[in-house]
């Protein structure tokens, strides 16, 4: 006889070590908090949105001179205005995409479909992070460039640099920015890697059945 058929005979028996719960035992369970990865993922995506929005507005509120500088740039420079409008549009787009993909996660789908919807949500967050990191990188490099151009003292100093020194200064700024972006990227890799390790493994196992 097959091993599983031996097991089948015992399978439906209630086990004494897990007492049968009464309705009174079940009621309080409905009010407990879920610890599912979908919930965690949801909180992460909210935190992600809030974090990057705060990062982009903090300088505006903390430094008066920066505020003044920005205000003058915005009123005088249409490019900056358009860029800001664009970045808010992107945030709105991501909020919409996140909402949609979270809505699509249904525990009553089949196992594979459920995993796919979660992976899709994770991808939306991933693209949002990539977008923000790219923007952070570009604005740090551009910001440094503009600071040099618009600050007479600084540009004066730079003007006295030899070509080699200029190159070194440029390399330092770019290198520093790249390391910053890389560290944040690593952090995300670790975060999602830990959270979705089991899901990825199980999804791979299911996919393997198809080949």
């Amino acid at each position: 006889m097959d091993e599983l058929d031996i097991l089948k005979k015992d399978w439906h028996k209630e086990k004494p070590e897990h007492k049968k719960l009464s309705t009174q035992d079940i009621y309080p369970m409905l009010h407990k908090k879920s610890s599912s990865i979908v919930k965690t993922l949801f909180y992460i995506s909210i935190a992600e949105l809030v974090f990057w929005i705060i990062i982009s507005i903090i300088p505006y509120f903390t430094s008066n001179s920066y505020k003044k500088q920005l205000d003058s740039v915005y009123t005088n420079d249409y490019v900056f205005g358009a860029l800001t409008a664009f970045s808010y549009a992107i945030i709105l787009l991501f909020i919409y995409l996140l909402f949609k993909s979270h809505k699509a996660i249904s525990v009553t789908d089949n196992a594979k479909k459920l995993m796919e919807s979660i992976i899709k949500t994770r991808k939306v967050i991933k693209y949002y992070v990539i977008y923000n990191l790219a923007m952070a990188f570009i604005s740090m490099v551009l910001g440094t460039y503009f600071a040099i151009v618009h600050n007479p003292e600084l540009s004066n100093t730079i003007a006295h640099f030899s070509d080699k020194q200029k190159l070194i200064a440029f390399a330092i700024v770019t290198g520093f920015t790249a390391v910053f972006v890389f560290v944040i990227w690593l952090f995300y890799k670790l975060l999602y890697g830990l959270l979705l390790k089991r899901l990825n493994r199980n999804y791979k196992e299911l996919k393997k059945l198809e080949v």
Binding site: L30, N110, M115, E210
Partner: protein, 164 residues
């Protein structure tokens, strides 16, 4: 309305609770973890219940939510211990050896099943629940042929675990 919904749900769950216990039996191996997973499955069932329509059997619907929670949604809470390490189990199996008593045999079988991966456990679960391959394929989202092939492989794997 909400009170009535809750009442109906709790009554149904109480009647069919053994299904959840059986899922927990496969996916956990200690008392705390069992209760923890039971709790999570109950929450997921309750959250999905308003969308449950009578056209599916409550028990069939429970299989889906229960397995999906165990395989995909559930995050082991900190207080529960991770599954036993493979070598420890293997050692115990060989030390106990095959005993004629049924209880002993079942114990070894359960231990062997615990060594399967999450997906394999899900197929074993549905098989033990007497589900046919069409239902297994629907629940897992794989083709019927693949479900059949995988089931045969699992049986072979179990044999290898039991008789290394």
């Amino acid at each position: 309305m909400n009170k009535e919904l809750k009442h109906n749900f709790v009554e149904l769950l109480e009647t069919h609770q053994n299904i959840i216990h059986k899922v927990c039996r496969l996916y956990t191996n200690n008392y705390d973890a069992h209760n923890d997973l039971f709790q999570e499955i109950t929450i997921q069932l309750w959250k999905a219940y308003p969308k449950f329509r009578g056209d599916a059997k409550f028990s069939t619907w429970m299989y889906r939510v229960g397995l999906n929670t165990a395989i995909t949604l559930y995050r082991k809470s900190k207080r529960t211990i991770d599954t036993q390490d493979f070598e420890g189990v293997a050692f115990k199996i060989s030390a106990e050896a095959y005993d004629d008593t049924e209880e002993q045999q079942l114990k070894i079988l359960y231990k062997a099943v615990h060594q399967l991966n999450d997906i394999e456990k899900a197929l074993v679960f549905l098989y033990l629940e007497d589900k046919n391959y069409s239902e297994i394929s629907e629940t897992m989202g794989i083709s019927e042929v693949n479900a059949r092939v995988k089931m045969n492989r699992i049986k072979t794997k179990l044999k290898t675990i039991l008789n290394p």
